[in-house]
Amino acid sequence: MREREDEWTGLMRSAISGDSAAYHRLLKAVTPVLRAAARRGLARAGQPVDQSEDIVQDILLAVHLKRHTWDVSAPFAPWLFAVARNKLIDALRRRGRRIFVNIDDFAEVLPGEAAAETVSAGEVAAQLQSLPARQRDVLQSIAVDSASIKDTAVKLSMSEGAVRVALHRGLTSLTAKLREQ
């Protein structure tokens, strides 16, 4: 457990200093833990657990957009669990149930317990359609068609800088829309 969390902290430090591969690995590594906690939260609230993927994606977006509030000299796991807890409570409250989420829900997940499968999530995909055309096209190209920023720029005849801006704006508005719904 300890080792795993130290590894996360190391990966996040590399990510912050510009290593996108480390960032990708980190997000992959934390997702099963987030998923298990989301399922447990839903189950305890008497909600269908197949909605867990929406919550996982919501948490991942928040982690991404708020990672500048993480202090690089502090361990990463407490920050991550605080963000996840906040998003999980929010999601359960939106689904009409006020519930207490214990922070240990995240910390005590055993590796074997975390189901690795990816269930389809509807909310992010649905909100994607309501974004401004530019942002939607860029997100569609990078997320769904797996194109790189470079390829996307060529395909949509934009500069790479403009693609980067549209990508970030798209993620920000996606998060805002998820929060408002």
């Binding site: 591969a21 509030t69 605080a82 995909a125 997320a143 980067r164 990508l167 970030h168």
Partner: protein
């Protein structure tokens, strides 16, 4: 979009660097300050005897108290903008202005006074004080909340309340240079009521605006 696709997309956006919350807060406060300053100079202005007043330690104490409140609230706001942070270990900073004020009241008690206690407490500007401080706070509060939106507070209402104290502290600093009531008893009563009002507005607004 499945989660793997989302993760890949987020990793593609890793190059984007957000500015620290402190920077965003500073920019927002600098943008909001002129509005409050304009309100101050068009409606109130400095008190006419400000040059002599500066030699009165109780006049100066007002600024020590309001600036201590503003700076403590800025520090606590920035601390609370991290999701894993709580008031513990930081909340005591907010007691500094209260401590200064208490010391001031004690100091005034020990000096011979021309006016009875109740007269000093009630003062002559209490209504202006309770109107001007909240009104001048509002632009600053709006700025502070916009800046703090950049953070990720676990308890948005608490973070909003502290933003309210921050803006009340700054607005009260302006107001203190206009007001001729210098007794710490006056400050402890009317400034506190004004600050409590702005703190409540901040908590209410924060619980909506500062959610992330």
């Amino acid at each position: 979009m499945d989660t793997d696709q989302l993760i890949r997309t987020l990793a593609e956006d890793n190059a984007h660097r957000a500015r620290p919350v402190g920077f965003a807060l500073m920019l927002a406060l600098i943008a909001a300050a002129p509005v409050s300053l304009l309100m101050f100079f068009t409606e109130l202005g400095f008190r006419p005897d400000i040059r002599t007043a500066m030699h009165n330690p109780f006049f100066d104490l007002k600024f020590a108290v309001t600036l201590a409140l503003a700076s403590a609230a800025i520090a606590v706001s920035l601390h609370l903008s991290r999701p894993e942070a709580s008031l513990r270990g930081f909340g005591w900073l907010l007691l500094i202005p209260a401590g200064l004020l208490t010391a001031g009241i004690g100091g005034e008690m020990m000096m011979p006074q021309r006016l009875p206690m109740m007269t000093r407490l009630v003062g002559s500007n209490s209504r202006v004080c309770m109107t001007a401080i909240p009104l001048m706070s509002l632009p600053i509060l709006a700025g502070a909340l916009i800046g703090l939106r950049h953070g990720a507070p676990a308890r948005p209402a608490v973070a909003g309340a502290i933003a309210g104290m921050l803006s009340a502290g700054l607005a009260a600093t302006l107001y203190a240079s206009h007001c001729t009531d210098d007794s710490p008893l006056f400050v402890a009563t009317w400034y506190t009521i004004s600050t409590a009002l702005v703190t409540a507005i901040g908590a209410l607004a924060g619980s909506k605006i500062l959610r992330f």
